[in-house]
Subunit: 360 residues, 2 copies
């Protein structure tokens, strides 16, 4: 077994790889008391793993919320604040956020805003959490039909990324994180892309090297641009249209996963890249093929496009009221702040719906 | 007329004094659109002043909340988030927070957490806002019966402190800020204390030099310790007991002002200082005399003390579950992190109730 990797940045320490949980123990002893925030699924499947790996951990109290993106809500945030009050948690205590992206987002916001800031450590338990959500200090909740409308940038003290938690999940739940892994390949890590090409996420057995590579890609970006003023925007490839699709389905009978929405967004924004930056047809086709090999297409229709466009207008990345995209120049190289006309965005959604061929 | 004073710190620019509003105009033009958050009183009395001083200011929209400490609530925070959504405010826009301490606290939190952070400028309109609440980046709301239980440290881009707004207030509303002015005198500015001794706030005509001195005192502290790890704790003199009293009255029929609560807290904590640090009887008596000359005593009784003690346990300043105080060594010199036994705190409240004499 390889030793877990330690990455220290100015703001955050990361421990990544098999054995990361055990390694994290020494980081817990400078605090007064330790509390855990998790969701009901995590309590059942992941808490036992954490306790087994940290047998001498003294837990002073736990808070359990309801799992699911539809519960990343102001109601659950208020519930956590009430529980933090009930447990009389103070600024010298430490909170362990144990869970996937929804959990670390909402619990990070709750901790950071309770008594103006209680320190927390993220223990992501899903692939999406390990390679994306738990890294980079974005916290928040969905509000008024919009994803992450309310939140803040705040760093955890540490992020402990241990692939062992993936074994607690059904393979289906690897899919969301896989979309982000593919994204790192496309925007900055051609080697990772080539390693994954042709694969289906359900067939991957050893996630450890993939997680290490993807997590390091994200850390490399956020350490230099924590507040998303420049290069961090590259991470938004696939997300401008992806978020709008996620919002579109958020209150429907079948809300979609973040990963599926981003996968669809990457097809659309890949197509826009081919129009704006001459991303080669061959590359676009390999992107579409890889995504279709891993993600089923959505079935929204032409009549839904105007509503999707409306939702896009609320995107946090909007500057000067104009929609700016992060796009690909080629596989492994992204650029940000590209202004795109509504007409082209609409065409990209039609490209997606109609499964058109590339013809730039 | 003196020119307004400009104080630039690493994080924030301050413009202080007569004419500060006009001076602020040049700071507004790098933003896309400008919005104002205020309360109903401010809309009536202060907005006209702002518009008159900034005739060419282009306001894209306004949000008005209900005034009053009892409305520094999660409900109004949610109202502001909804309004920010309705106005489609983005990260390139600017919010002007126009109002007293309650307004800048809640609106600062709303702006800082909307789309993970919209920039804002504070225009305090009350004495308390000018010398305290608008400076130093503390934002938040009351929650679950506790003052400022939820919030964050986040700096405004600028703070514009123009005494002209005081003219929009009845003199009674100067009282709350006056408690904080006295506090700066006691903890760090003997000269200010001596200048004020014997005065009643209702008789003060020229606030400008007092505001400048008090605001600079606060800026001097928060610029070196923005997160309240050390010297900033000195500002809590009078506030540990003061906040508990404020919480005690918060849901009563007669909620009390922050200033009155802090004034009472300074009598109690002044007494503790005389026990712990040999603060001279003469000094304690001059403190008590000055406070009684400006603030009417509360009429809580011995039977209320246990509840007040309970509320104190929720104080954000509690470390290792022990109550730590900021106390006076002498007038003009404070120390922080002094651990005090419950018994002595109770005795200090009795000293307050019984109007005892100093006898250390």
């Amino acid at each position: 077994m390889n030793l877990p990797l330690l990455v220290e940045t100015e703001a955050v320490s990361y421990v990544i790889g098999d054995g990361a949980i055990e390694k994290s123990f020494s980081r817990l002893d400078e605090f007064n008391r330790i509390f855990i925030i998790m969701d009901d699924n995590v309590e059942e499947h992941c808490l036992p793993v954490l306790k087994q790996k940290l047998p001498s951990l003294n837990i002073s109290g736990t808070i359990t919320i309801i799992s699911g993106e539809e519960n990343k809500s102001i109601h659950q945030l208020i519930y956590i604040w009430n529980e933090l009050t009930r447990l009389n948690i103070g600024r010298d205590d430490l909170i362990l956020n144990l869970g996937g992206g929804v959990l670390t987002d909402i619990a990070g916001m709750a901790a950071a805003t309770f008594k103006r800031g209680v320190q927390f450590i993220n223990y992501p338990t899903t692939l999406l959490g390990m390679v994306d959500a738990a890294i980079g200090g974005k916290t928040g909740i969905d509000f008024s039909r919009f994803k992450n409308q309310v939140g803040l940038f705040i760093n955890p003290a540490c992020v402990i990324i241990d692939p062992i938690f993936l074994k607690t999940l059904e393979k289906l739940h690897w899919q969301s994180g896989f979309a982000e892994v593919l994204k790192y390949g496309l925007i900055m890590d051609r080697e990772l892309w080539q390693k994954l090409e042709g694969k289906n996420y359900l067939e991957i057995n050893d996630w450890s090297p993939i997680i290490s590579k993807a997590a390091k890609d994200k850390i490399d970006i956020v350490r230099f641009d924590s507040l998303e003023k420049g290069i961090r925007k590259n991470l938004n490839f696939g997300h401008t249209i992806g978020h709008a699709l996620e919002s579109f389905y958020l209150n429907s009978e079948n809300p979609v996963t973040h990963g599926k929405a981003v996968a669809a967004g990457m097809i659309c924004e890949g197509w826009i890249s081919s129009k704006v930056f001459d991303l080669e047809c061959k590359s676009l086709e390999s992107i579409v093929k890889m995504i279709d090999h891993n993600f089923k297409r959505f079935s929204f229709g032409k009549e839904d496009i105007s509503q999707i466009m409306e939702l896009m207008k609320q995107d946090k990345k909007i500057r000067d009221n104009k929609q700016k995209f992060s796009l690909l120049r080629k596989i492994g190289k992204a650029v940000h702040d590209v202004e795109i006309e509504d007409k082209m965005i609409i065409e990209s959604l039609e490209f997606y719906i109609n499964r058109k061929k590339c013809n730039n």
